[in-house]
């Protein structure tokens, strides 16, 4: 079986979960003797990366397309750096032109390769996937990691993005959703038939953290409560700040840490200041690797107040480090996790009450951590790859 996969930037150049997920899924597929031709956008002026070392697998071949596309890009973001790069006159004038141009380039690659099935991750690569399908006649799988409704919290959905998502899903032979939460959204908002959608969960790659559960205090405060994620509407950072203020009204000896970057970063700094909690609220910036792991480990509780979260890999990472989680009911990972606390993202009273409960009763955090860590064993890339292979086989034999 050979797969033409349209993926995204690989760690450590990722800016979120999408690149991580594509990378690990592709790797797990190769381990199972599935060949993957991994196509990804890459700007010519970027530092050269040795992808072959990163993947180091005989079943994997990398093809790059010269393009400035990156995950989570928006039209305005695209235009802001296009002004600097317009001179090159290589890329599309707008994000949409670029996405379509990327698709045309993808078609050229498809014409030079042989493969059995096409697998495209998220809307930016859907035109590429559809183009490859129309030139090769091979079946197309589109993999939905997030929809426009997640990214915008349902407000100000970009109709062009929506159209491309819907068109891609309709043209596809199979749609993979990262959770039932996302599957339901695809059915309701995009009108795709339930039979056409399969749920394949994301997973965590690293083996169980041997230091998980060992707290490493970083502050003079008695307790630490953590947020990790893009500081953007979808992730609900404002609810985290509001809950923090309610906790601090009752217990001043708590430090809240927000790790990440995003379009609401400055707004959140102002909000924390306006609520008078800046002394107990730290912005750690975008962290990865050992720094992030150390932060997870030093926290008493990880909070993911997402407004709409298709999966929520960071919650799993936190549990892996032995840190209990409080997640919004609007998350995909939460639908198959029982050993965690759940709350509606907008209910900051309840969020604060649960944070205080974890900080007050040590046995609560202890059980959430111990059983939660055990429970995430059910998320494995190995299993997810098996599910993808089954889908490929069904599509290629019919």
């Amino acid at each position: 079986m050979r797969v033409l996969m349209f993926g995204w930037e690989l760690p450590p150049y990722n800016s979120g979960g999408l690149g991580v997920a594509c990378y690990h899924l592709a790797k797990a597929l190769c381990k199972k003797n599935t060949e993957v031709i991994f196509v990804l956008p890459r700007r010519v002026d970027m530092p050269p990366q040795d992808f072959s070392i990163l993947f180091a697998d005989a079943n994997m071949r990398i093809r790059t397309i010269n393009s400035p596309l990156v995950p989570y890009i928006t039209s305005s973001l695209y235009l802001s750096f296009m002004s600097a790069e317009a001179r090159a006159r290589l890329y599309g004038n707008t994000l949409f032109e670029e996405v379509l141009r990327y698709g045309r380039q993808a078609k050229k690659i498809a014409e030079t390769e042989t493969f059995d099935v096409i697998h495209a991750h998220d809307w930016l690569s859907f035109p590429a996937g559809v183009a490859a399908k129309s030139s090769s006649g091979k079946p197309l799988v589109v993999h939905v990691h997030a929809t426009e409704f997640d990214r915008t919290g349902g407000q100000g959905v970009n109709p062009l993005v929506y159209e491309i998502e819907k068109w891609g899903m309709e043209r596809a032979d199979k749609v993979i959703a990262v959770s039932n939460f996302t599957k339901n959204m695809i059915i309701e908002k995009y009108g795709i038939a339930p039979e056409k959608i399969e749920v394949v969960y994301n997973a965590v790659e690293r083996p169980d953290d041997p230091h998980g559960g060992v707290r490493s205090p970083v502050s003079r405060h008695k307790s630490l409560v953590l947020f990790v994620g893009r500081i953007t509407l979808q992730k609900g950072p404002d609810y985290f700040v509001e809950a923090a203020a309610k906790v601090l009204a009752r217990d001043r000896d708590v430090l809240f840490v927000m790790a990440g970057d995003g379009d609401m970063y400055h707004e959140m700094i102002r909000k924390a200041a306006a609520m008078g909690i800046s002394d107990n609220f730290l912005f750690a910036g975008f962290l990865r690797g050992s720094e992030l792991t150390a932060l997870y480990r030093s926290a008493d509780l990880y909070v993911m107040p997402s407004v709409s979260e298709p999966f929520g890999l960071t919650a799993i990472e936190s549990l892996q480090c032995g840190t209990p989680i409080l997640i919004s009911k609007q998350t995909g990972a939460g639908e198959s996790l029982t050993h965690c606390l759940k709350v509606d993202f907008w209910d900051t009273d309840e969020m604060a009450a649960k944070i205080l409960a974890v900080l007050s009763y040590k046995e609560l955090g202890q059980c959430l951590s111990e059983f939660g860590r055990r429970e995430i064993g059910k998320f494995s890339w190995d299993r997810s790859a098996d599910q993808c292979i089954t889908i490929y086989q069904q599509l290629t034999t019919t």
Binding site: R250, T338, H339, C340, L341, K342, D349, E350, A352, A353, K354, L356, A357, S360, Y361, E363, L364, Q366, C367, L368, F371
Partner: protein, 401 residues
């Protein structure tokens, strides 16, 4: 000549409402959920009364009328009776009519369906006495046979029961405590003088309570005729077949649509159809048959889960913390002299609260999930633990006054 001894457990806890840390110090009504969910005690009681207590009691009355040899026994928890009186007095009335037949025995238990036997003999004794007084008040009878909460049993608990004057006690017929022995005889608990022990035949009991409607079960559908045949097969190798189960089996755990009521309607007749069979209440079984052996039970056994031990209530740090804190308050609560405080403290002892905090869902577990009115064991712990904090504050206030 096997006698069939039926005992049905009838119990409803006072479920603790969702209670957040911000309510501590302000809200002392712990059991008054008024919502549409699964924590509204009044609504749940009315529902179970409609689906189980009233129709099943009605059928039992008719069966007792039709078969003069038919006999059964119940254990009605104090918190059940309190709620029956408050939410559905007609249930109380129908149990009264059942007891009036003279062929329905009532057993003794702790008023609050608690785990007090594991933590405080004094409190255990008080709750048994409270229950005895309540049974006497409502039904005019005095139980002589004891069953501890969830059939939790050990040599020590048998000795407790003997000290309180009971002649018999009930327990789970767990394989490891029986060894090569059969549950279908009367035993003597080790370390007691005159006590007798009746052991649940868990295979036959669970055929009704758990497997009755399971289509994966090879014996499905279970008919009264088939079940009576299985009971009769013990003829010659057993003296008493103890069928112990939750009363809610009828109509609540096994819905009416499964045919459970048709099964029940036919069962006494089918069992009596074999000439050697009869029915006995626990005290009659104890009087009729000698103890065939002494049983030494060092570990705690119960009728819960496949483990048949204490792990449903005591297997994680939250359960231990909640129970530890609760019984730690005993002396202060009692010396406060505050009746309402004592009552609330005791309602918080009901074993169900700790069952809801159980985290061992994955081996055995969907049962726990099904019976849990909270979204998770963590929610159950938070509500109960916050309420305990509030209770603690109330104690301190009483002390100040």
């Amino acid at each position: 000549m096997p006698s069939v001894c039926f005992y049905f457990q009838v119990h409803q806890p006072f479920r603790v409402k969702k209670y957040s840390i911000f309510q501590i110090g302000n809200d002392h009504d712990y059991f008054n959920d008024r919502g549409d969910g699964k924590l509204n005690n009044g609504k749940i009681f009315e529902k179970v009364a409609r689906k189980c207590y009233l129709p099943t009691n009605e059928m039992m009355l008719r069966l007792l009328d039709r078969h003069p040899e038919f006999k059964i026994s119940y254990s009605l928890s104090g918190v059940f009776l309190e709620q029956a009186e408050r939410y559905a007095p007609e249930v109380l009335n129908s149990f009264y009519r059942l007891v009036q037949t003279g062929r329905v025995e009532l057993l003794s238990e702790t008023y609050y369906h608690s785990l007090a036997a594991l933590y405080s003999f004094d409190e255990f004794e008080r709750q048994v006495a409270m229950h005895r007084a309540l049974i006497r008040k409502f039904f005019g009878v005095t139980p002589t046979v004891f069953r501890n909460t969830e059939l939790i049993y050990s040599n020590e608990i048998a000795r407790y029961a003997e000290r309180l004057g009971f002649s018999g006690i009930l327990a789970e017929g767990a394989d490891d405590i029986l060894g090569w022995r059969s549950p279908n005889f009367v035993y003597k608990p080790k370390g007691t003088d005159t006590m007798k022990l009746l052991l649940k035949n868990y295979k036959l009991s669970d055929d009704i309570a758990f497997r009755f409607s399971s289509r994966d079960w090879l014996e499905w559908p279970l008919t009264a005729e088939k079940f009576a045949r299985w009971v009769s097969e013990h003829n010659g190798n057993g003296e008493v077949v103890n069928l112990f189960m939750d009363y809610e089996t009828f109509g609540e755990h096994q819905w009416e649509s499964t045919g459970i009521f048709d099964f029940l309607r036919e069962l006494p007749g089918r069992i009596l159809g074999h000439a050697d069979n009869d029915f006995k209440t626990p005290s009659e079984a104890i009087a009729a048959y000698p103890a065939r052996d002494e049983l030494d039970v060092l570990r705690y056994v119960s009728w819960a889960d496949i483990e048949r031990d204490l792990s449903a209530w005591r297997s994680n740090a939250m359960q231990e913390a909640a129970l530890g804190k609760l019984y730690q308050l005993e002396r202060e609560v009692l010396s406060s002299g505050d009746e309402q405080l004592m009552e609330d403290w005791r309602k918080l002892q009901t074993s169900d609260h700790f069952y809801y905090m159980c985290t061992k869902w994955f081996a055995d577990g969907d049962v726990h999930k099904y019976f849990n009115p909270y979204d998770s064991p963590y929610e159950a712990f938070i509500a109960h633990r916050n309420v305990l904090e509030d209770l603690h504050i109330r104690i301190k206030k009483v002390e100040v006054i």
